[in-house]
């Protein structure tokens, strides 16, 4: 309401009130009534078990609210009864498309409490795998975007090219989806022989994939007319709702934890750019993610040249006991800011873990964003906000 008042002058506001009054009289005469549409928990647009309750007036949404928790697995509680190395198995499954990226902040938090740091080589490999999981995650988003908007071909191209990245992750870590590779004090293993050259070739392919998706989707007039100006999040609203990641950068906020946080990782060693977009609409959010995939391939390429020799594991005791204390570490994950607040009482396992996952905060804006849009735009907005159900419900 406040925005309307600022934009419209007095005369226009009176005309607006008069038209609203006329509408309400018309509605009384015709006795129209709204319809409550229950989108989900099982619905193709929510790719998971998110439920959105929407009150419709015709095809227009009057009121909408997300209802989550259908996939809650209680990871915060489960983490309390596990030792530190065991927790990584759980948190792998939070954002299942970029699993390795979930492990890193937790391990960094534990390392911070133990006051150790991984060897430089391990830091570089961590950063490379982190960016690879970002590419695997976001490339699927770029394909899925097409499906949500009705174009069925991009998703198959995305699946084809994501496979190369998953193969890389598998050959390095042994797991395609859930690597469970990060250890307190370093990594489980060194890279296999020939992996570096292979990765260079795949990064080249991935840049080709980005160009292809840009041609196929982003240049399409229908795609642009479906996404431009839809679901606009102004800068201050984005900050108020605690959006993070590409959703925030699409609203023009220059904020990237990879650059802004001082972490024992290798992002500050290479040259890359944080993209922002002034518009804040669905197109901006999708475009930012496309550009970020390109930046990630650049980061990986440069790191492969710089990667130093040495051990991948620091000297840590066989049985890991984390000293008493509290630590908060967050990183820029594929979906946004992901952080762990670890409270230790000096035991084998954490006393309490608070998981701050990006999607949960990102979808909190949906009631604000979905008001007044048409039913097809619900899908566009949900797709462009980009959430993973595991990341919402944990």
């Amino acid at each position: 309401m406040s925005i309307t008042e600022n934009v419209l002058g007095d005369r226009q506001r009176l005309a607006y009130i008069a038209s609203q009054a006329a509408d309400s009289r018309l509605n009384v005469e015709l006795e129209t009534e709204g319809m409550t549409l229950n989108i989900g928990p099982q619905h193709p647009a929510t790719h998971g078990t998110l439920r959105i309750i929407a009150r419709l007036d015709g095809e227009q949404v009057v009121w909408a609210e997300p209802s989550c928790g259908y996939m809650h697995r209680g990871y915060e509680k489960l983490a309390e009864v596990r030792t530190y190395p065991q927790v990584t198995t759980l948190i792998n499954r939070i954002d299942w498309l970029g699993s390795f990226a979930n492990e890193v902040p937790f391990i960094l938090a534990a390392e911070k409490l133990m006051e150790i740091e991984a060897p430089v080589r391990a830091q570089y490999i961590r950063t490379i795998l982190f960016e690879l999981s970002r590419i695997a995650n976001v490339s699927l988003f770029l394909g899925d975007l097409g499906v949500q908007l009705g174009a069925i071909t991009p998703v198959f191209i995305a699946f084809r090219d994501r496979e190369y990245v998953l193969n890389l992750i598998e050959s390095a870590t042994g797991g395609r989806f859930h690597p469970n590779f990060d250890r307190i004090g370093g990594l489980k293993d060194d890279l296999p022989a020939g992996w570096v050259d292979e990765t260079r070739a795949v990064m080249k392919k991935l840049r080709g994939f980005c160009d292809q998706i840009e041609d196929l989707l982003f240049g399409n007039e229908i795609f642009q007319s479906r996404t431009r100006g839809i679901g606009v999040v102004p800068r201050d609203v984005a900050l108020q709702y605690g959006l993070s990641g590409a959703n925030l950068r699409a609203s023009g906020v220059d904020w990237d934890l990879r650059r802004d946080h001082k972490l024992p990782m290798a992002w500050d060693k290479v040259d890359w750019k944080v993209w922002t977009h002034p518009d804040g609409d669905s197109f901006a959010r999708c475009w930012i993610r496309l550009q970020e995939t390109r930046e990630s391939t650049k980061i990986v390429d440069q790191l492969l040249d710089l990667i130093p020799a040495g051990p991948v594991m620091a000297k840590v005791p066989k049985i890991i006991k984390v000293p008493e204390g509290e630590a908060w570490v967050s990183t820029e994950n594929p979906l946004g800011e992901m952080g762990y607040y670890v409270v230790s009482r000096g035991d084998l396992g954490p006393f309490r873990v608070k998981i701050r996952s990006a999607s949960f905060n990102n979808i909190s804006i949906t009631p604000w964003l979905l008001r007044g849009v048409y039913v097809p735009d619900i899908v566009t907005i949900l797709a462009s906000l980009y959430f993973i159900l595991g990341d919402i419900d944990r």
Partner: protein, 350 residues
């Protein structure tokens, strides 16, 4: 009428017509599903498609039909049962009614309507009724939204389709589809008659509008809001299962085939070859072998047009409902009206 056909008794002719109608609707539908939906789509998406059933998966469709026939025919508890069961039949029926006026050769036609174009356009809108009652009778909110969207869309795109065909009718001077074919193949452009005078050249604007309109009439992407699977699950088809879904499915592709046939009759010269090639002057001169070659030529042209429809379907995202309506009322209809005006002026001038 052809002397060979004239000797067959009336009941035999009727039987042949029924069989011919079934073949003319179901054969193209099956071919389209296999060639385009299964194979072309797979190749566009860097996969192979069905490969197990028969050579290169060519028997896959029979397997699918068998699967659907075995499935339970589920009727929702709160559905309006009689109407719910009737809806898919109405949709398929309109396709059969539509194929009746399509000529396949000099003598290979079902009925020789003087007002064939008028009839075809009238009958093609019957399917709206089936879709609307399917959406209503399902007692499902997604179905209802899909049905209403379909009704709005099909009515909006009926108009540019009719207006696009008007140009052809003005140019040919007849509403009989058979005579439109003859007019195109016996015609000449500025004395040059080697390719006849297919109206796709002189009525190119009309052809493009007609193709866009049938893309929307068939609810194929980018105009597939009625069944938009990411928004409305499956639109008006959500509650259908088993053979009723199969009828909807066949209806979709059979209608695509029949609309493409009508488009090829109106714009590409239908079953005919340019008469100048063989020195024919009128329809009575045509040799009997054209009754065999005609359907083949016709199906080739049909496949070409369906290829274009499917190509667009597989590569474009979906429009929004209001954008679709705006496109029809503010874009296509004024252009089609302008096309009619220019055509009628030129018709008088030349």
């Amino acid at each position: 009428m052809n002397p060979i056909l004239a000797e067959i008794p009336y009941w035999g002719q009727s039987l042949l017509r029924v069989l011919g109608g079934l073949v003319a609707v179901l054969l193209p539908a099956g071919t389209i599903v296999y060639v385009f939906l299964f194979k072309m789509m797979s190749f566009m998406q860097s996969r192979l498609g069905p490969m197990e059933a028969g050579p290169y998966g060519s028997m896959q469709l029979f397997a699918e039909v068998g699967k659907w026939l075995q499935k339970e025919d589920i009727v929702p508890e709160r559905a309006d049962v009689r109407i719910f069961k009737m809806a898919p039949v109405i949709v398929l029926l309109s396709t059969f009614l539509l194929v009746v006026v399509v000529p396949f050769g000099p003598d290979a036609w079902f009925t020789d309507f003087e007002t064939g174009v008028f009839y075809a356009l009238a009958v093609s809108s019957v399917s709206v009724l089936g879709i609307l009652i399917a959406g209503w009778a399902s007692a499902n909110k997604y179905s209802l939204l899909g049905g209403l969207r379909a009704a709005g869309q099909l009515i909006a795109y009926e108009l540019p389709m009719v207006l696009a065909v008007m140009g052809v009718v003005i140019q040919a001077g007849t509403m009989n589809l058979q005579k439109i074919v003859v007019a195109q193949n016996s015609g000449s452009m500025f004395g040059f008659d080697a390719v006849g005078h297919p109206y796709v050249i002189s009525q190119f604007v009309g052809f493009v509008i007609f193709m866009i309109a049938i893309q929307a009439e068939l609810t194929q992407a980018p105009f597939d809001m009625p069944i938009a699977e990411s928004e409305l699950v499956s639109g008006y088809m959500t509650e259908y299962s088993g053979f009723r879904f199969l009828i909807f499915f066949i209806g979709e592709f059979a209608t695509a085939g029949v609309f493409a046939m009508i488009a090829s009759v109106l714009f590409l010269g239908g079953w005919g070859v340019p008469f100048a090639w063989f020195g024919w002057t009128s329809i009575d001169d045509i040799d009997n072998w054209m009754n065999i070659a005609g359907p083949i030529i016709m199906l080739t042209k049909m496949m070409l047009l369906v290829f274009i429809i499917m190509w667009i379907r597989f590569s474009y995202p979906r429009l929004r409902e209001d954008q679709l309506q705006r496109f029809a009322w503010k874009g296509l209809i004024p252009v089609a009206l302008g096309n009619i005006m220019v055509t009628s002026i030129l018709k008088v001038v030349f």
